[in-house]
Symmetry: C3
Subunit: 680 residues, 3 copies
């Protein structure tokens, strides 16, 4: 449990009372009660208010807010306010201002704007965290610490350059090792002094979006910046923990956000929290995959849904309303996949600046008679009914998909073979097929143990880190099914190619050699022709983006290419290895292939779906104390029916006993607990 | 009359004799005579020539030019030459150089390049204006002063930053008021010292095109820059007026140019002038609307068509020729809508630099035997025939459309709900429907009195300035018909939301509450379903971009949405208020709806078209001394016929009496004066 | 012969042994032998290695490499290594770093990164060239000098600004002449001091891609930068030649690369070399044209194919593999058009940095059992068979197309009439029609003598340099056929318009006057209507982009426009002038017209195709000692048959006698030598 003070699914969100007056606060309190809100994230952007000058701190307003909220039954998710530095600090200490990738020194503005290697920023951020911890350590309303906000963005200033050199010395030991790692003899880049190394900005090695001359330095700079920001987080974390060792600490992450290696970050977080902002046309499977990734950051530990919008966003190009029921549906989708909180940005809409058209529980109209508020209040009521029934429940999976941020950086930085290759999208193709079968899947890091899985999929595993190949071999040897794809096994962790034939370290377990990689033009496809039917697969499918030209070295070709000069060469292979099988998918297949392919794999690996449901009806299970809680989530615009067969379930919201056909309304949710509660 | 020295429609344009030799000047004079040219705009870009160094002025060439032109029957529109600073000034006083939005200090180049808060620029511009006024105050050829040229562009330098802080102090009185106005408690932006405020550039709050974190500062910076440039204009204006109080002063505007609030500018101009550069695919209704806006800047006072091209432009992507007759057609379109001059850029084509492929009366071939010259000469001849017949005639309208530059800034700066919302285009949708009915329409500011109108349309009136809502209420109460749309009444003049329910201050007169605003994806539409036929409207129409979800609070729903979860909610409402009606159009309708909708409104408000004409035949009237001058402008590629019925008219160009069917040739123009002149 | 040491078509390419160890070197040697490789380009990016600090040079590794290669039968193309400066130099002497067009001082990174006017760069580049020459002047393996690498890119730093002013003084003599040349009275740009002139960057006169306010300064800056880089080349050239007067010197060019005037460069090169990197969808005619241009740089002298990829590139968006046979096909296409070398980038693939996915003879797998290696080895074997049979053979053409870099700059910098106008593409339209007929064509400079040609085509000859018009007149007068197009004859060499009527200096020989130039919208066309059939031309064709409105002044209209207000005006004209004809094509015709038009021209001019072949089967001839060597290059995916009729040929690769039908396999090549060798 995140914090036993509030033993239920927390419900609330970001709240900015400093933008309002006492009359509004009273109205807020009244409406929070109506909506069942019991947690408020405050102080997120209050640094300038609580530290109006270098030596002055003023916590009086914050004291009052916390007391008032607590009195009104609202617990506190207390932010440390370091997500945006004060204007006076920017003016007095320009080292807090970043230099952007274009080499431009920023001026005061925006948020998430501090150089992570600024001595000033680090000093005052640490001091502020310490002061907050000291001041509120004993407040009964304090539920959790929220460090800074949505960390992100890189800096290219001279302080960062200097820190980067120190980082390189620590990582590589010597300049010689740096030169080797980056292959600097290419293009005459040999360094003779660490001071010759400059950050890879648009003034040196990079241009456009993720284009670089030297993958090595660009990859390391991403590592370095991710770690620099993480250091900022850790400095605050340490200050908080020194004083309040028992209060959990988090910071809000952003799903597949590319710039930070969240697997590294999560190691330093007591609980993962994240902000979920799908567009109206984001596939629900992509959102589900992101929840699973956030759950996977700490190996399955439940996480916090820290932010979502009650209805509308403001920063997308076209900010559609969430349709009736959809906010509730997506809230429970989060819970179904491991969230133990449902929280919003924002509780009350601001009236000025760029987020005034971002949805809120309390809209500009100011009263409760809105569709959005009614939907929020209904979810609040239901979470009250659910109590702690779901809290701490786990999601159990036999299938896992490997995801790795550094692999993403390396793929995106790669010059060639195709700009069309998108790592998260390739991952999603595999995830999506499992999702539509209601097969529960963990999203795991390359460091995760594979023992508990029957099926492990590592799409586009371009970068093989030390030990990973051995782990895969052991996994397959013991009977596991491993799947990987084209453009895998190519480089080591410093992006140097493993010579001797692709897929490098994975070649043995896969039993193939990939001689060449063809890049297809946009819209161009090749055929994947099945060598006879294999389960659900038969006939021809399309492959696109890249086509590996592979040779069998022990593996068997399940399908071959149907076109071009490599017609007849293997397109999909399987290699028996020990007790298990290792598959290689040499191109990016269409959805029909994926559906049949994953079906076969699951059947063979003995992985059963949660439930067979009609298209669009998601079924997910969390398990607590050996008992299953089943979520039926209807993403369709019409009612859908789940066939529960003879098993007996209890509706967690109504207490009714359910068996056989269970109808889920359009955009509706049904939560069923295993067994017949009415007999208890 | 702009200047009684030349009591006719002035004909001429920009002329740059400094680029040519004496032989060419003689040839120019000969050809000007052939073309009926009687005014030349000179000295526009001659600062470097007449002030070759800091303390040196040399007017000898300008003296000679003015004398020569006057002798040859050409009057002078005398520019003050401050539209581009000399290179020596940029080198010696870099404060004249702007810093661009990317934070880059410009170097010498281009035009319209001076920082408006540069002490150097202001000092030498004022001095030059004073010297010109002193020197030419008694010259009989001096017709009008033309200050600088096409003012525009913003600067973000330190001088501007300092001036901005002064401007803020003046506007808000205190820093506290600034903080409140910009809602700086959002994202921790509280300022404790004016010096902490920096211009909202791409280094601070803005990015891309009109994207900002803080609408408040960005909106104020636009106001400040528009005023800073206006101050530059006013400094010169004052110098000129001190010496030549009776010579009119103007500067050339650019229609819907977004960066300057022309309603404010026009207050300081004796006569409005503007440069009309439609593309081959600009709707003629858009050009007409722009003329009407320019006329509206000074409440209907006739204006100057300062520039248009005889045929081709150079700066568009595809610079099509004006088809035969089109230059004449568009010239008279300007006159029909209030222009008392017809002037070109340029009288003779330059041979070097970027405008050498911009059309001219005298082309590179250098003689008069060109299509373009012949067409110019024909118009010149006709303007001679017309004499002062049209001069000072007014356009009388019962319908008005409200346009506001600050409203445009606020809409464009808004983060959400949709990037597809384009204020001028929404305004044009209403204008276009009126245009195609030949209903004369004024384009008015929010400050304009509404008394004389029967119908006032304020599309997307997002920002409600003090007093505007009261004025609208009074107007409707007295029997007027008011129309506004989705995304109206949302914010006050500092872009803070009016809480309590959209459309804020307009809610009472409209009798509705807009609860939510849905943004549609590109290409997506909802249906506008009529609740029974209303005049020309029946059945279903399309709405797009945004859909307000509104509730009736006294108003009646004329149409409802036909799709999505808000199907059945009102899409178009009307509220009886006092003697009048207030309409709300909750989405952006298609053309068919607009045509029927405006037809109904006009019918009901007793507004009659000038004439019912076939598609593409524009009919516009100017009225002088109670007598109507009718312009029939045929935008079709084939002849069109206007049915004048029994009324009797005189062809202003031929003197013939006309009644019944009047045929207007393809791309032709017929100008008719009320009554039978042959009987006079 | 480039160098008699190696009297055959050189075969090899870029080789970077410094990235590898001794074991790999041994393997390389073994595989080079297998592949028939006899030349290696080395030391291209080794500056940092051989000069590790300012006063230290270390040639030991290079010594060893050269000795080792030579011992293994591989000659040396020795690069001077100045294509990228060392990091220590950038740190110690920032003047070597460029300032980019956005005004940003670069930091260390990339390649081709040195300011061409940097005193430091010039000093150390010269010193390095001298040292290399001294050291290796007597090495038997030294075949040719390769100065720097792929020169390109402009700099806008203060050193360049100062050098530009010196360059201007030298070119124009006086500031007054500069002011006149650039027409600076336009927009008040008169300069009174050379120091007021700044480079035309995005901070001054330019923006976006090739957009400028002042064509004059922008054109001159391109000339100046091209010359500045050429000066860098010449400095090294002179150092090398001082020591090794008999060793040829080259630098590798890049075909139609826009930034450098290669005709000027070639004057200072002993042999032209270039890097050929077509995409999978580049028309083969475009590649052929580029070879012909490279051959034309030195008036027909055979050139070096310095680089091509064995299969894949890395820097394109979608890097498709070269299909089987295509590398061989394209190698022989180069040879067929004048190449006396076939060389690759790269012999062995690097494992780190941005070119690791660029194809190589030796792939990452490291052994010879790859498709790519087999194809390389086969070509190597064949080049051994061919020996010196083709060496020094010439391509003989009666047709020529004029191409001019400065003309391209002027066209691209032009503001108006259409952004759709692309000079190389217009040139290619004419070339393509000749190519498909197998008519051999020279690509020539405006300086080339026209005497030996029957047909000279100068598409879009916008800029007429001194003497060119006279030369054309003389050519036509003597019986030549000259063709030019719309937008020709407009300006002189300083981009000032030739007044008096387009096409200016070409008007007399063409017998027409172009009164106006209409720009068509994208997708828009006009009709070219033939006035009766002319040879292969009959009926109607499409014209697009621009349409000149022309009047006949002695010429005859062969076709007229079919649409719009200029329907009936001439679209294609021919003027009899002396013994010859001058044609004017007033718009950009479609392919069908081009095919017929060029057919007619060739028929009339007595120019015969090499051979009539089926579509896609290219036939090209090189002539040596009066004997013809015929290349049949099949670009089709299926076999094609050439009909040799009764003439007797010998297959140069097999020695077989061939006559009648010769089948060329899909993507295959047949090389035939005139006569029956078996009888010799």
């Amino acid at each position: 449990m995140i914090n036993e003070k509030l033993p239920k699914i927390w419900y609330g969100g970001d709240y900015n009372p400093e933008q309002w007056d006492a009359e509004t606060w009273a109205e807020d309190a009244r409406m929070f009660k109506l909506a069942g809100i019991d947690v408020a994230t405050i102080n997120v952007f209050s640094w300038a208010l609580i530290q109006p000058s270098e030596e002055e701190y003023d916590f009086s307003a914050l004291d009052a807010t916390i007391d008032r909220l607590y009195k009104d039954g609202v617990y506190i998710c207390l932010a440390t306010a370091t997500g945006a530095h004060p204007a006076w600090m920017a003016k007095r200490y320009p080292d807090v201002l970043r230099v952007d990738k274009q080499g431009r020194k920023r001026k005061f503005g925006g948020r998430h704007n501090s150089c992570p290697n600024s001595p000033t920023y680090r000093k005052y951020a640490a001091r502020l965290a310490a002061k907050l911890a000291e001041r509120y350590k004993d407040h009964p309303g304090l539920l959790i610490w929220h460090v800074s906000n949505e960390y992100g963005g890189y800096c290219y200033c001279d302080n960062c350059a200097a820190a980067f050199r120190v980082w390189l010395k620590r990582r590589y030991g010597s300049l010689d090792a740096v030169n080797r790692a980056w292959n600097t003899r290419f293009w005459g880049h040999t360094f003779y002094d660490f001071d010759e190394i400059v950050p890879p900005s648009e003034l040196s090695e990079e241009w456009g979006h993720n284009r670089t001359n030297f993958q090595g330095i660009s990859l390391d700079y991403r590592r370095f910046q991710s770690e620099s920001l993480l250091d900022c987080y850790k400095i605050e974390y340490d200050e908080l923990k020194k004083v309040t060792p028992n209060v959990p600490v988090t910071t809000n992450l952003m799903g597949f956000y590319p710039e930070l290696d969240y697997f590294e970050w999560a190691k330093h977080m007591d609980v993962v929290s994240w902000d979920n902002y799908p567009s109206i046309d984001t596939p629900v499977s992509f959102t589900a995959m992101t929840h699973d990734l956030m759950r996977g950051l700490k190996s399955g530990q439940p996480f916090m849904l820290m932010e979502q919008t009650p209805s509308q966003q403001n920063w997308q190009a076209y900010n559609a309303l969430k349709r009736p029921g959809v906010m509730r549906l997506w809230s429970y989708q989060a819970v179904a996949r491991g969230a133990d909180t449902v929280m919003f940005f924002q509780l009350r809409r601001s009236i000025g600046a760029c987020e005034k058209y971002h949805g809120a529980v309390i809209e500009h109209v100011g009263h409760e008679h809105t569709r959005v508020f009614r939907e929020c209040a209904e979810v609040g009521r239901e979470l009250g009914v659910l109590g702690d029934a779901i809290l701490d429940a786990r999601v159990e999976s036999k299938a896992a998909i490997v995801y790795d941020w550094e692999n993403r950086w390396a793929i995106e930085l790669s010059s060639g073979p195709s700009v069309a290759l998108n790592y998260p999208e390739e991952v999603h193709k595999y995830y999506e097929a499992l999702f539509h079968m209601n097969v529960q899947t963990d999203m795991i890091s390359v460091e995760e143990a594979l023992d508990k899985y029957s099926l492990v999929i590592a799409p586009v595993m371009y970068m093989i880190k030390p030990g990973f190949a051995d782990k895969v071999e052991a996994f397959v040897n013991r009977g596991g099914t491993f799947v990987t794809t084209f453009f895998s096994g190519i480089v080591n962790e410093i992006d140097l190619v493993t010579c001797g034939g692709y897929p490098g370290e994975l070649r043995k377990v896969l039993g193939i050699w990939a001689e060449e990689i063809d890049a297809l033009l946009p819209g161009q496809t090749n055929k994947i022709v099945m060598n006879g039917a294999v389960g659900a697969l038969n006939g021809e499918y399309d492959g696109s983006i890249l086509c590996d030209l592979i040779h069998l070295e022990g593996a068997e070709a399940i399908a071959t290419y149907g076109e071009d000069f490599y017609k007849g060469m293997p397109a999909v292979t399987v290699n028996k290895y020990g007790e298990g099988e290792a598959w290689y998918v040499a191109t990016s297949p269409d959805k029909a292939f994926m559906q049949g392919f994953l079906k076969n794999l699951c059947d063979k690996a003995g992985i059963r779906p949660i439930l067979d449901t009609p298209e669009g009806l998601e079924a997910t299970v969390r398990t607590k104390d050996g008992k299953r809680i089943l979520f039926l989530l209807n993403h369709n615009k019409t009612a859908s029916v789940a066939d529960m067969g003879e098993s007996v379930w209890t509706d967690a919201l109504t207490g009714e006993t359910r068996r056989g056909a269970v109808e889920v309304p359009a955009h509706g949710v049904v939560i069923l607990t295993e067994g017949d509660a009415s007999h208890v």
